[in-house]
Symmetry: C2
Amino acid sequence: MKRTSRDIRTANRYEVLRQIIAASPTSRQELAAATGLSLATVATLVGELLDLGMITEVGFEDSAGGRPRGLVAVHASGGTLIGVDIAETYVRVELFDLALKVLARADEEMRPGESRPEQVVGHVAAAVGSVVAQAGAEGARVLGVGVSVPGQVDRATGVCEYAPNWDWHDVPLLDLLAEHIAYPLYLDNPLRACAVAELWFGAARGSGDAVVVNLGTGVGAGLVLGGGLHRGVSNSAGEWGHTTLVLDGRPCHCGDRGCVETYVGAPGIMRNLREVDPDSPLLHDGDQTATIDALARAVAADDPVALETVRRTARYLGAGIADLVNLLNPQVVVLSSWVAAALGEPLLREVREAVARHALRRPLTGTRIVLSPIPTDPVCLGAATFALEGALQSVGQRVRSRTVSTS
Amino acid sequence: MKRTSRDIRTANRYEVLRQIIAASPTSRQELAAATGLSLATVATLVGELLDLGMITEVGFEDSAGGRPRGLVAVHASGGTLIGVDIAETYVRVELFDLALKVLARADEEMRPGESRPEQVVGHVAAAVGSVVAQAGAEGARVLGVGVSVPGQVDRATGVCEYAPNWDWHDVPLLDLLAEHIAYPLYLDNPLRACAVAELWFGAARGSGDAVVVNLGTGVGAGLVLGGGLHRGVSNSAGEWGHTTLVLDGRPCHCGDRGCVETYVGAPGIMRNLREVDPDSPLLHDGDQTATIDALARAVAADDPVALETVRRTARYLGAGIADLVNLLNPQVVVLSSWVAAALGEPLLREVREAVARHALRRPLTGTRIVLSPIPTDPVCLGAATFALEGALQSVGQRVRSRTVSTS
C-alpha cells in the first residue's frame, strides 16, 4: 500500500515517457520543467528509456546563449504494443507503435451463446495473430499484450474472478491466453483501461485527480487519484455502476436495486426510452447498439422523444456524477466508452446542467466535465498502455515470460 | 498534484514518527522493518526528529550477537499540541503532549444564536487560554494549534468558505483567530480531522486505503487513499453526506434531495424514529444529543421502537457505505463521531449486515467495518495531529508565524 522508492521511480519513469510522447522532440530541461523532477533525475530516466530503445536522440536545439541542448523523441519503431478489448459482443485487437499510433486492427464478432472462456480466447488469439501478420516486420517486436475483460480481475494471478455477461467465475484467463500468445500478457478491465488511456493520452493527462466515467452496456468509474490509477485493496475499485442512486429502485443484475447502471447503462437508457414512449420506433429490441445509434440520430434531428430520453438519462447521470464530484473533488470528469461517444455533445450539455443542480458549489467549481478526446477505441489504447507500463516497470528486472508458442 | 521528493520525504517523516509513537521504545532496525524504508533513510529521519526534540535516545537493546542497537522513544515533554473542535453547540479544546496524551481540556458552550464569527472566535480563544494556563510550564511550549470547523475550508488561506450551521460565507477564520492566538495555526474540518486521527492513532493505521465515516449532526467521509489524506483539487473531497441515496427523497439543507445525510445524520435519525413512532417518548424535540442518548439506552433495553429505528438507520447507512466499498475498495471503513460512539455495537452489527446485502462480493471481502477505537474526542485529536504534521512539514523551512499576542 505504501509507496516504496521503487514505485516512485516507476511512476517518474511513466511521467517522463508520457511527457516525451506528448511533446516529441523535447529536451531534458523541458522535461524537468514539465514534470517537476530535478534535471539529474530526468537525465537518469531519459538514459534508461534510451537504453530500452523506447526513445532516441534526435539532435540539438540552441539554448539562449548556452551550449546546445540534446533533444529526445519517442522511438516509434522501437517496438510494438498490442491492446485487446474483449467486449460483450466482439473482440477488438489493435497493434500500436511506441507513439501509440494504430498500425493494425482486427475485429472478431462473438455470436450470442459464445460464452465459454475457450471460445473467447480463440477469438482473441485469432485477432492477435491477424494484427501481428498485418504488421509484418513490426509485428516481430511486440513488447507486450494488454487484455481488457469486462469483469472483476486479479491482476497478479491473471484470473477473471467474475464476468457478469458470461457468468464466468474464477476463470484463469491469462493462463488460457498464454497457451496461444507468446508475448508478456497483462490483464485488467475496461474501467481501468479507459482511465489509464485518459491519464496517458487523453483528458486526464497532467491531472492529479480524475474520474473516467465509462458508459457502455456496463457502467463504472475509473479513478485517477494522486496522479496514478486507484485500484483499491483487491483491484476492484471503481464499481460506481453498482452504487445506489434510487434506494429500492430498478432491479440490477448484481442482485441489488436502484444501481446507477440500471439508469444510465445502455439497457437502462433503453428502459428510459421505453418509459418516454413504449412504442418508439427508435427501440430495437435486444439490440443496444442499434437503439443507441437510432437515439443519437433522432437527437440530432430534434426528435422530442429522443430529446426527452436524453434529458431523463442525463438527470440520473448528473446525480450520479455529482456524487463523484462531492466525494472525490476531482479536477476532471471524463465521459468515455461507446454510449458517451454516440450521444456526444447533446448528452454532455444536459449532464453538465444536471450535475450543477446536484453538486455542492465548492467541489464543483474545481471540476471540468468533458467528453473523452481519444479518437480511437479507448479500451484497446488503455490495454496497450498497460503493456507499455509493464515494459517500463520491468526495467532492471527479468520479465516473467508466460508462454509456449504463438497462436 | 504530483508528489515531489519533498512531499515524499515529509510523508516518510510522518510514517516514522507514527511508528515511534505507536511502539516506543524502538530501534532504527525495527522502524525500517515496519515502514519498508531503508535503514539509511530511517537513520536520517530519526536524526531529524531527534534534532527537533520530538524523540529522544533512551538506551540500547541487545541484538542477537551483534552490537547493541540504539533505542528511541517519543519525547512526550518535547512540546505540546492543541486541538480545537468547533462544533455546532460547543467548542472543545484539548492540549496534548507529543505522545498525544491529553494534558488539559476546556469546553465552552455556545448558546443558540451565537453564530457570529467573532463570538465563536471568542470561545476558542478563551478555551485555548484555559488549557495553556492549566498546563502551566508545559503550556509554554505549544508547537501549534489545529482548528476544526464544520464546513468547507481553504487550508492555504485559512478562510472558511461555507459553514452551513451558521450560514457563514468566506469568513477569514484563521486571521480572526490569529488576533488572539500566538501559535502557528492550522485550519481544516472535522471530516479530515477524524480521518487523520484514525490514520495516525486509530483503525486506519497501516492501511493504504481507508474511509472514516463521520456520523454526527452532519455526515461525511474522510478518505485515506494511498497512505495519505485525499483532499481533492479544492480541499473539499469527502462530502459523502451530500451524495444521493434516494433520488428525489427527503429534502436536504444543501438544496438537493435524498442526500445520505438526511437519513443518517442525527436529525435524519430523529426523523427515522418519528416514522417508526410519531409519539415516541425517546424524542426530545430540537435536542439531538438527548434523543440519540435516549435511543442508545432504549436499544440496550431491547425497546422494539428503538431497535426498529436503528435497523432503518442501518439500512440507509449500509447502502451508503456499500457505495463507498464498491467505489473505493478500501481496507477498512471506520464509523466515527458522536452518533457512532453513542449507538455503538448494535448499530455496527446492523450496518455490517446491510452493507453485505448491498456491496459486491469482491470489493467487500477486502474490507473491514469497525467502530473507531479512539477513546477521546477524535476531532480534537485530529486537529492536534494537523499541528503535529505542520511542525514536521516545516523541518528545514521557516514557519510563518501568524500572530500578535496570546489571548
